[in-house]
Amino acid sequence: MTRGDVTAVGVLAALIALAPLVASGYQLSILISTGLYGIATIGLVLLVGLARQVSLGHAAFFGLGAYVSGLLATRAGISPWLTIPAGALAAMAVAYVVGRPVLRLHGHYLAMATLGLGIVFQVVLNEWVDLTRGPSGFGSIPTATLPLPIAGGETASLYLVWLAALAVLALSLWLVRSSPGRALRAIGDSEVASELLGLHTADWKLRVFTLSGAYAGLAGALYANYVTFLSPQPFGFIFSLELLVMAVVGGLASVWGGMVGAFTLVVLTETLRRSLPEWLPGSSGELELVLFGVALAAMVLLRPTGLVGLAAAGLGRARSLRAAPATAEEPLHAG
């Protein structure tokens, strides 16, 4: 992690800590959603941005984490403090099992395999009624509460989700600057050259895919803990696409892109949900999807580095403008 990253994580932690003092319940729910989706999206940034592998089934890992955590807490009566990590571990294990054979192949087979996984996962959730209660889902999931003297509800959820989100953010920022991050970037840039330096590229891709699955599972387990009701509907293909859109819009070149993309899409979704019926009477949810598609296409075409890349470019321009007068003065001094 750079000094700038440490400062930014510290500032973000402080803002989250103070948010319940100034934000409404609705605004806190937006921050909670940002934290949840941000955790999963950071995993995708690592997978797509570093290793250049695409997952079209991350909703399944998210849903798996949610269902494992929720079922263990409701059916087996296990403490949520244990079921949340269990959800992450279950998603991690499935990512490993799916990724191990697929990532030995060259090409975009992972996208196909994860697309299939998402479909199978939906079928299992809907058809294994004895376990999952099928399409109607189940509720009353016991929630984890932080041992802090704070009011319950949104504030407790905000702190729990962001405790995990900040840990994931810090771990990922460290990862990309460290030896494994360099190895993954190298593999993303040239697999053949990486192999001929001694990097086992299939193993490295498997590691980052497994970590990415674990992040999505953790996010899902925290989601179950927050909403306390689960049904198959939110974990379909559309959600996998939304997570990818968050990663691309935020920026695949930076871990921060995961959080920025999640926040942008959550705010955009909420704004559209509230305002769209006023702007276009009779419009439905499909229009949201169209707008997401347009946003994705526009970002890929116009600013492939995402919003974080846009901000970095703006910052660079501002710095060069500040530096310009000093440069211009040099000939005068020289003269």
């Binding site: 840039d189 053949v192 050259a193 001929l196 330096l197 990097l199 086992h200």
Partner: protein, 239 residues
């Protein structure tokens, strides 16, 4: 006196792409400490042979031995056993700085992070120490070639396969490259060099192997190459 063991040996290697035979029953042995130049006209099969020797492509028939044993099936295993290479089409890591390109090569050898200073000396070897923070895109083409060479050297290989390392280099850079290649021989690195610049290839090589249309047509000392009728015929297309 027993002959020195071959670091890499191709025995009766064939490589076919559909109906096209790129390599036809090629035998080649490169012994420890040698610099062998592999030359031939365009389409002779030089890069294909390098791809087979570095595990990038499996041979259709025949066998490749590395230090007397069958070459490992995957490139990373061959690399860990002491083999590495550069590429005709540069394969630099564009998202990493020049220093990180070398650092990742150092780290790939072991199990973890290594000090940055450990990578610096390889950039110094090729005269790129001042460009350590630059990304490959910011370097002139010749310096990119040198960076790829520095990255390959950072693995401290036993066998280095170089695919046209002088392409795009200026005359002074070619001279410096030739000196560096001779320096590699002095530290015991075995080199198999594919090079179109005959002046450079013949200047540094202990032995020259000539390929034409996938067939090895000559294996000669450098001073015998220019006068060899088979080589002249292959290059000039004379029967």
């Amino acid at each position: 006196m027993p002959a020195e063991p071959a670091v890499v040996e191709a025995r009766g290697v064939w490589r076919e792409f559909g109906g096209v035979v790129a390599l036809r029953d090629v035998d080649l042995a490169v012994r420890e400490g040698e610099i062998v130049a592999l030359i031939g006209p365009n389409g002779a099969g030089k890069t294909t042979l390098l791809n087979v020797l570095s595990c990038v492509l499996p041979p259709t028939r025949g066998q490749v031995l590395f230090r007397g044993r069958p070459l490992p099936g995957r490139p990373h295993r061959a690399a860990r056993a002491g083999l590495t290479r550069t590429f005709q089409d540069l394969q630099l890591f564009g998202s990493l700085s020049a220093l990180d390109n070398v650092l990742v090569a150092r780290e790939a050898r072991g199990k973890g992070a290594v000090p940055r200073g450990d990578a610096d000396r390889f950039l110094e070897t090729v005269g790129l120490a001042r460009r350590a923070r630059d990304h490959p895109d910011a370097l002139p083409f010749g310096q990119r070639r040198l960076l790829e060479l520095a990255r390959a050297l950072a693995t401290e290989p036993m066998l280095l396969l170089l695919d046209e390392p002088a392409a795009g280099l200026s005359t002074p850079e070619r001279t410096a490259l030739a000196e560096r290649l001779c320096g590699l021989r002095d530290v015991g690195v075995t080199v198999l060099l594919v090079e179109h610049d005959l002046e450079l290839a013949l200047g540094v090589a202990d032995r020259v192997v000539v390929l034409d249309q996938g067939v090895k047509i000559a294996d000669l000392p450098p001073d015998a190459v220019r006068g060899d009728e088979r080589v002249i015929a292959a290059y000039l297309g004379v029967a």
